[in-house]
Amino acid sequence: MATSRTPRETAAAGTTRPRTARGGSGGRGTDGQRGTGGAHRGHPKRNVLITGVSSTVGRHLAMHLAADPRVGFVLGTAPGPRPRFLAPLDPARFLYIPTDILRPRQVRDLFHRPEFTEHGIDTVVHLAFVSHPNLRGRKVHRLNVEGTKGLLDRCMESGRVRKFVFKSSDAVYKLDPTTPVYLDENADLNHDPLADQWIQDRVAAEMICRSRMDSQGMDVVILRFASIVGRNVGGQMNAYFDGRVVFRALGYDPLLNLVHMKDVIEAIRLAIVTDTGSGIFNIAGADTATVSTFAEMNGRRCIALPDPLLEFVNRAMRRVGLTDYYYSVDRDRMRYTCLLDTTRAREILGYQPTRTIEFAEYRGLEG
């Protein structure tokens, strides 16, 4: 079995909370082998549902899991018809079902589809989340917060789902001069009512996830990622380093951590297959350096401007389409260091970042 658990992992999982004995998850053909037998030495392969599979992380995750013999069946959902890039996946390992999280009826139906029970889906990876400063409003909020809540409710209702993995980000942390260099999972969250909507949504969605962490029978895992860098990933840091010239706050040059897509996928995979119990895990990458150093590695000119001017320049550049980066959202991040303390992920998940970002390669791909 793929997951050989070390004593430490077992102990850590044991201390997280008392758990019910966990047997097979139904296996392929709902043979009902659920029970106490064979609970340890790793369970049968996890069968995974991925929401938001049309996103870049979703696409990478689906392709990786469908090719990974340590994982069972993979079900992908997103609104609309199947994206073309999912076509080459082996139909015996992957199935796409169009589902709009905004429509509770469709989500309900999803859990009652024969494919869902047939393949014994026991793990849900929730990626359907809008996190772009430009996309806001009621509908986005409904997707981000109510969508997460609805999905969680359906998972618990179904009685089949044993693990719910929510992908979050380090944007939920509050940053100011008094925050430590390394933030652990208990650090203060950004509850600023003036924060950007998607940050507020993330915090709210996390809170909903955390309120279900004590539920019997289903583990809820939150993964807080550092800035993911890669082609088409979106996110503030990608938008930032995509500019020909990057601007930073004068007199500040904080440390920044970037995480490679391969490590992101590996962390999600570990969260799926490792018996961790409920919990939050910070996931950081192998690259830590200052904003200006990353800009230099990336072949960008880095110009420092005082704060008010920076805001103005950024807005002007956005207006003419030179950048997609929102300085106002990242004002604190551009001043104070926000690094993640990954002790928990290392000790409980066994996660270790391995991939450093090849800046030349990244630059070559973007064109």
């Binding site: 001069p177 008094t178 925050t179 430590p180 260099v181 390394y182 652990d184 706050a249 004068l250 007199g251 500040y252 040059d253 440390l255 192998a286 690259d287 830590t288 350096a289 200052t290 200006s292 150093t293 230099e296 590695m297 001043r335 104070y336 260091t337 690094l339 303390d341 450093t356």
Partner: protein, 312 residues
Amino acid sequence: MTQEGRRIAWKLAERLLSTDDLRDVRSFAFQDMGYGYDPFGMERESAALTYVVFAFLHRHWFRVESRGIHNVPIEGPALLTPNHGGVLPIDGSMLAIDVFKRLDPPRVVRYIVDNFAAGFPFINTFLVRAGQVFGDRKNVEDLVRHGELVGLFPEGAKGTGKLFRERYRLRRFNVGFIEIALRQRVPIVPVSIVGSEEQAPMLANLAPLARLFGVPYFPVTPTFPHLGPLGLLPLPAKYHITYETPLRFYEEYPPAAADDPVIVRMLADKVQVRVQEMLDEARAQRESVFDVGSFGPGSPGGNGHGNLTHPA
């Protein structure tokens, strides 16, 4: 710094530092995370340039003398707990330079700086690159976990904010460092610094102005504020630093004692009494505050206490 900036920094350092010093700044233990920064943001080149400036002050302006450097562990985590005084926290930098210069192999003291300073541009970046860390409990714990030599003022900002007539009378120590020392089993090295209070005698503290500017205190010294920012330059008082035998409380108390406020308070007072004794003794032995005779290139670092003189 950019790659180009780093090259220039080394060229400057080569020109301004002696061979021994240059070897030290090139070779001190540094945990590079791949891009020339250590886990807390220190950069070797920035640290080297900072050393150039403050080592000059250490040698020629404050003519720092020290004894008992062998009490500072050459490896593993330790807390240095000196007294604090003199309006501007120059005492911390002099201590750090002294340890770097006189300890063999050299170690960087990771100083815990009031996080009030983190909100200022340039100051923030300069402090972090030079190896300082902003005051937060988690930061101290992480530094200790990394096996660093941590310097902190148990008095906090209360120490620099005291008036000249109260000089060298320690303010009551905060207790956080004792909790960390017990939980993570770290030795505490008591340190006394004499000379810092005379560098900028604080005659009055204009508290309303301090509130207005949002600073911990607003000093009136013989030169500040009427001489403007120049008045903040420290007077050349001669520094005497003493390091004492490390206190290993964790040998007598279990880590759980850190949860007992009475024990923690008692141990903090114990360290405070020790530092106060060292201060009184060092002041009694001091012959002159400014020791004008020790100026000039002929007598670097002075005499008397059997200190290690600065290598030429």
